[in-house]
Subunit: 259 residues, 2 copies
């Protein structure tokens, strides 16, 4: 395996950083190649702006199409181009981050916003009355696997079917489906650690064992069975799920997972 | 009204920026006080790190508790303290941003991550076996209103009940409920503009009119009826919604809105 780990925590001794270190050592020992994008250590720039696109930036700035032209013509900044190259190199991408305000830390969102340019991660394939691009199961990153490893301060029950924060699968859906499956990656079930504001050495050892098991069984793990956009399940041009395809009782984001 | 507008787009001539300008002029003409946090213009720093907390930063860094101590002891950086002061000044907060990858732009997430410190936006009130803080309807920002104004490149049908991206209400739930209702704000239904990659001057004029109407009726608009955490609807300590309270057929995030 060739694994890219994208990591987002400011403290090298944090739980997130420790889990990242476990991933590096576990995968390396098992003979896999690993690259790490440690976003805080890299002082990753978070905000998309005209400077990202070099000579392809127009006035006024058109974020979507300027990013596409910059990608096509090779004028993206070196930091963005390097991350795109790592994604193309990898067959597996792991994201290690704390859930802050029910979403990614800003620095990781900034990695997505800047690296996932038009022509690379979206705007791929024909867009017309009978086709709305190659995405959700197709695209530049098709055939690669992605997995989130998330640390959460709150309690697990708060993130269950009836928990006050909403189900963790729904909170992660915009990342799993909207960011990772969108450019074609198969998304494995996440590794989630709860109650992380108080973790004893024993707790960490237990979590590290579970995490190692997930890492060592990555290649045999079935992805979340999201529905391909162009697999016949959606009406065109509305891209609404055809009636009757959903699993019994499913609603909302759950519709887009095969029963 | 005292309105704070938090705005996140790099191009002053963009649709997002134009809608922000409409909000400023509409509210000012109607006699309201307005402050704007134009995050790109302010070169807002997105990444939480030790520098945010001054003398309260520990080694190793403890993001949660160091942010709380920095808030308590007044050692947060001036940019964070200024945004907290604006939030305390405002009775209404509007967020204007493009939906990038089904979420806020990184720079706006960075505003949340850095400004919403422990003791200010979370970690408020007692946390014990019978109470898990004052949040979701209570907290520092209780009594204030919040509203999102979001521009979306894709088509509206893609964001409906059966649309491939998931329902817009579910995509915005982590912001509405998790970020805005969490520290106590009442959240008004969002203003959403779709298909924004191609907007004619006529389209913009129509949208601006609708937006003006929303702005001028802000004070009479009913908020989304989220359930208060401490209003009796949730079991303790699990914080799971009690059985039978949900509206017929609701699931997932929808459980947490009163029928």
């Amino acid at each position: 395996m060739k694994t890219l780990i994208v990591h987002a925590h400011p403290e090298p001794q944090s739980l997130s950083s420790s889990l990242k270190n476990v991933a590096v050592s576990t995968l390396t020992k098992a003979g896999h190649e690993v690259q790490v994008s440690d976003l805080y250590a890299m002082r990753w720039k978070s905000g998309v702006d005209a400077e990202d696109f070099g000579a392809a930036a127009t006035h006024p700035l058109d974020v979507v199409h300027d990013s596409g032209r910059a990608y096509e013509t090779g004028t993206l900044t070196a930091d963005i181009a390097a991350e795109q190259a790592k994604l193309l190199w990898a067959d597996t991408v792991i994201f290690q981050f704390p859930l802050w305000w029910y979403a990614m830390p800003a620095i990781l969102k900034g990695w997505v916003d800047r690296v996932f340019t038009y022509g690379f991660a979206y705007g791929v394939g024909e867009h017309n009355a009978t086709k709305y691009g190659e995405r959700f199961g197709e695209g530049t990153l098709a055939g690669k696997r992605a997995m989130l490893s998330v640390t959460i301060g709150g309690r697990e029950s708060h993130y269950t079917d009836r928990g006050i924060n909403g189900p963790i699968d729904d909170l992660l859906f915009p990342i799993h489906h909207g960011i990772l499956y969108h450019p074609g990656m198969d998304v494995l079930p996440p590794f989630v650690m709860y109650g992380t504001t108080r973790v004893s050495p024993e707790d960490f050892a237990d979590a590290a064992k579970l995490w190692e098991q997930r890492l060592l069984t990555l290649e045999e793990t079935d992805p979340i069975p999201f529905r391909q956009q162009n697999g016949g399940d959606y009406e065109l041009p509305s891209l609404r799920l055809r009636e009757g395809l959903e699993a019994r009782g499913s609603k909302g984001f759950g519709l887009h997972v095969r029963g």
